[in-house]
């Protein structure tokens, strides 16, 4: 057979192509063998990662997380893409949850106080002993007929854990005091007064065209910042919409103010008057919904005295700006107005918020897309949202009880009132009158340092739980928290290590022979019973033919929700606008105490609960980029006049105390306001928090909103004095020079023509 050159080339090419193609058919050789390495370090990471869905407990919001677990160790957290509250995003506080798990100063077993109270000397005891001691003390108290002298202090606990705690306290006969350092009491009261709602509604930022926020740093720390920030992203840059307008009213230049199109720096406590002025313009210009305008100004409420020109002096905002904002708010619908944060933290806080929330009626935003959407009641009747925290007035009553020796046992979990309550209340001294303080904290925080008995609870990554978010996303959600890892101290045996708070309470209840009426022996049984009720409803995001598959599906997705289960409540008729109330400031004397102190919740440390975690300490504040410290923001001209430079140690004194902080002159601060972040100044709290910075909450005046009894934490006046010390403010921005300082190292040299 003659082989032509062409045929030869075809055959050669075809063979080569075939060889290449069929090469891929085989199994690679390495797949067919398995190798014994010569040496294998014990800690070598092999194998694959598992991801478990759970709920973050680092802040009250409760974001859904997925946790990467390798070899039984949690390595990383990410946002749960499915979970309605955060839909795949998460905050720096969630991220640091790992450090709460691996914190070197975690309490590794039950402790009993050894030395003087507050001396920090504890001795390790077994769980049997610890639970026995608590049961014994509580039963002794009950035998004396003093059950009501048992006070349970927790963070506001919702869902199943809330149910367990509530039943434990009520069936024992004690007092329950949910504690929040920055309380929502006034917000809840305003929502009730304005919308007749018991749960905080959803603000549909995502679909709004105009957002008017008063005092609440909603992109940073307020209520549900991850969800709001996500909605905000769509509000500004959504593909299918025009860019929305954000106007922020605040007496401090916050991160939300920095993001806003317009920041109105209102005089502290004047947010309500400003809102009434905006209402006046909308009604006078004929832009308001007429029915709402009639309802709001019923009984001949004449708003003319709030015309921008009449109040501009008082609120500190130019009349032209009030007018422009009012017209923009009324014309660029759908628009939404909400308030909270420092606007609520005045003696007239309720007035401020009611006036702000009433604006929504004028533009027809109540119950409408892009406005205020009501949240439905929780899916399970006996599994509520977190209860309202005890108001500041309640705390003052409790302190009085403590001083009179009428508190026999103080049980504290997830709360740090010793740190968070202003010194002027006298809580710290009063704790010495309480014969028994029990803490369930996993870290020795300020309150726990004063405890007699510490029953450390699991980190949230080791524990069961559930969450009924408040505020919810506009429909029913029950989030489920599952242990992503086995308890870190499990290896210490069953008598030491940590235990779940609910399980400890259930054991103590057994010892006290209290029937909690719960379905099961362990907290997991209680959760499974709740899940069974959801299973039987047969609606929503997880449905299954049998309970076992349902339970698996529930844990895989991180919870259950039903997007069609929305609130059936129709918007109520608009209530009449509130009469203005003047804010009061303490002390009144503005000559001696010339500055308003407006503390703010730290981005990373929150109200102080994040201070023990170094990642959060090292997270720069979005405005100042400062880390690891407490600083005081001062207007740049005021600072110049007082010859204050950045880093000067400033003594900030109110009539109730004195703290020191590093000066941060800032052009965005109003001249008569100073701002200090919350979160630092712990006396205990582990190696990263202890003795670092100072706590603005400690010098607050014990003043409160007249109607709700909530702490008016922005109503204190202070004076500032320069000390003779200077400390470099640890911050990111301008920390390195932006040009080479060596004068012989030119980046570019321009030669003249002569050379």
């Amino acid at each position: 057979m003659a082989l032509t050159r062409r045929q030869f080339l075809t055959l050669a090419g075809g063979t080569a192509a075939g060889a290449i193609v069929f090469q891929a058919c085989g199994i690679p050789e390495r797949e067919l063998m398995v190798q014994s390495p010569v040496e294998m370090p014990e800690d070598l990471v092999s194998g694959l990662d598992n991801w478990y869905a759970t709920i973050c407990r680092q802040c009250p919001t409760g974001e859904g997380l997925v946790v990467r677990v390798m070899e039984g160790r949690a390595k990383k957290v990410e946002g749960n893409v499915d979970y309605p509250i955060n839909r795949g995003k998460h905050s720096v506080r969630c991220e640091a949850g790992l450090q709460a798990l691996y914190h070197p100063d975690r309490v590794r077993g039950p402790l009993v106080r050894e030395g003087e109270r507050g001396s920090g000397r504890f001795e390790e005891i077994s769980w049997t002993d610890a639970i026995g001691r608590l049961t014994h003390q509580l039963s002794k108290l009950r035998d004396q007929g003093n059950q009501d002298q048992m006070v349970m202090v927790t963070d506001p606990l919702g869902a199943h854990l809330g149910q367990v705690v509530e039943r434990f306290v009520s069936r024992y006969g004690g007092q329950y005091m949910p504690y929040e350092a920055v309380e929502r009491t006034t917000l809840r009261a305003a929502v009730k007064a304005t919308f007749d709602q018991d749960v905080i509604p959803e603000f549909d930022i995502e679909n709004a065209n105009y957002v008017l926020s008063f005092g609440c740093d909603f992109l940073n720390t307020w209520l549900s910042p991850v969800r709001y920030a996500r909605g905000y992203g769509h509000f500004r840059q959504g593909d299918d919409r025009e860019r929305g307008t954000l106007v922020h009213v605040d007496s401090r230049f916050s991160m939300t103010a920095a993001n806003a199109d317009r920041w109105l720096h209102v005089r502290p406590g004047m947010e309500g008057v400003l809102a009434l002025s905006i209402a006046q313009v909308i009604i006078a210009e004929g832009l308001a919904d007429s029915q709402a305008a009639r309802d709001l100004t019923g009984d001949g409420y004449n708003l003319d005295s709030f015309a921008p020109e009449n109040v501009t002096e008082k609120v500190g905002v130019p009349a032209r700006e009030i007018r422009e904002v009012a017209i923009g708010f009324a014309e660029q619908r759908p628009s939404v107005a909400f308030g909270g944060g420092s606007a609520a933290a005045h003696t007239n806080g309720l007035f401020n918020l009611v006036a702000v929330y009433s604006l929504n009626y004028l533009v027809g935003s109540v119950g409408e897309r892009g406005g205020v959407l009501f949240n439905p009641l929780p899916a399970l009747g006996d599994v509520p949202t977190a209860p309202a925290a005890a108001s500041f007035a309640d705390w003052q009553r409790l302190v009085a009880q403590m001083q009179q020796g009428r508190v026999g046992a103080l049980l504290v979990r997830g709360a740090d009132p010793w740190y968070g309550l202003p010194d002027a209340v006298g809580f710290k001294d009063a704790t010495f009158n309480v014969p028994l303080i029990v803490s369930f904290s996993g870290i020795v925080d300020d309150t726990t340092a004063m405890a007699d008995l510490i029953l450390p609870e699991h980190s949230f990554l080791e524990d069961w739980g559930a969450d009924v978010p408040d505020p919810g996303p506009g429909y029913q959600v029950v989030g489920f928290q599952q242990p992503a890892v086995r308890p870190l101290f499990e290896a210490r045996g069953m008598h030491l290590g940590t235990r779940g708070f609910a399980d400890v309470l259930m054991t103590v209840a057994q010892g006290l022979e209290i029937d909690l009426g719960l379905p099961g022996e362990t907290f997991k049984d209680v959760l499974q019973d709740g899940a069974r009720q959801l299973f039987e409803m047969d609606r929503g995001s997880v449905r299954a033919p049998d309970f076992k598959s349902f339970w698996n599906g529930l844990l895989q997705r991180g919870g259950w929700w039903d997007v069609s289960a929305k609130s059936a409540d129709k918007p109520p008729p608009a209530p009449r606008l509130p009469k203005p109330e003047e804010p009061e400031f303490f002390p009144q004397d503005s000559a001696q105490y010339p500055f308003h102190l407006v503390p703010f919740v730290s981005t990373s440390l929150g109200d102080g609960r994040g201070a023990s975690l170094p990642w959060l300490q090292a997270t720069p504040d979005p405005i100042t980029t400062a880390t690891w410290q407490t600083w005081v923001e001062i207007n740049i001209r005021t600072a110049e006049a007082k010859d204050i430079k950045e880093g000067d140690v400033i003594a900030v004194s109110s009539a109730y105390g004195r703290i020191e902080a590093l000066a941060f002159p800032h052009p965005g601060m109003p001249p008569d306001v100073v701002s200090i972040p919350m979160g630092q100044g712990h006396q205990a709290g582990g190696r990263y928090a202890e003795g670092r910075g100072s706590n603005p909450l400690s010098i607050l005046a014990p003043s409160m909103d007249g109607k709700t009894g909530a702490l008016a934490w922005a109503a204190t006046r202070v004076k500032i004095e320069k000390t003779d010390r200077w400390i470099r403010l640890p911050k990111f921005e301008n920390a390195v020079p932006d040009l080479p300082t060596d004068e012989h190292q030119e980046i570019i040299q321009i030669a003249t023509r002569d050379s």
Binding site: V38, G47, L48
Partner: protein, 209 residues
């Protein structure tokens, strides 16, 4: 023979030879095809049938599970250390074998092989150990993710038994095998049947992720 009768022309010798060879080649081809078909069809339905391979493959060292498990009573997890912690059960490192075999098993040829892997030149100060390339017996395709830890946890918690008592559910009585052999098909049908039986998830993404 009648003259003029039709006579088939006698094939020439060359052609006869060709037919003979073709016949043998064809027969051999048929046998090979049948063997391949047996292999393909049996692999499709269950364990592949390869004649002469009923025992499991020869390994570089004829490691007897019988001695270690039945006679000495070692736990599976003593050597397969990662099995309760991660995806892979993990094959023990040579160093782990040597913790005993540095002293035990003098004179046994297979133990000498092991020692030769660990320290070929007999000088403990030189770092010249070689890994052992075992022939893989249980293998999942690349698109399947199997995590030992979750399965062991499930069975041991359900029945309240030790982790090492659950291995035989899938691997059979390895302790009684001189050569390790796959006893279950471990195909998707096998996985899914079992997942259904114990109400484990049967979403695609449970294993294919």
């Amino acid at each position: 023979m009648i003259p003029g009768d039709f006579q088939p022309s006698r094939p020439p010798g060359r052609k006869l030879l060709l037919f003979g060879v073709m016949g043998i080649v064809g027969l051999a081809g048929f046998v090979v095809t049948a063997l391949i078909a047996t292999f393909v069809i049996s692999s499709w339905l269950g364990d592949p049938v390869i004649f002469g391979y009923e025992e499991g493959p020869d390994q570089p060292i004829a490691f007897p599970h019988t001695v270690h498990v039945q006679d000495l009573g070692l736990d599976c997890t003593f050597c397969h250390r990662n099995v309760t912690k991660g995806a892979a059960a993990s094959i023990p490192a040579v160093a782990l074998c040597m913790t005993c075999h540095v002293a035990v098993g003098d004179g046994l040829p297979e133990v000498e092989k092991l020692r030769a892997y660990f320290d070929p030149d007999g000088d403990p100060d030189t770092d010249d150990g070689r890994p052992i390339d075992w022939v893989r017996v249980h293998r999942m395709p690349d698109h399947v993710q199997f995590v030992h830890e979750a399965h062991i946890k499930f069975f041991s918690e359900r029945d309240g038994i030790a982790a090492s008592a659950t291995c035989s559910t899938c691997h059979g009585d390895v302790g009684g095998m001189t050569k390790v052999k796959q006893v279950r098909t471990l195909k998707m049908g096998d996985c899914v049947d079992c997942h259904r039986e114990y109400s484990a998830p049967t979403d695609c993404s449970t294993c294919h992720y």
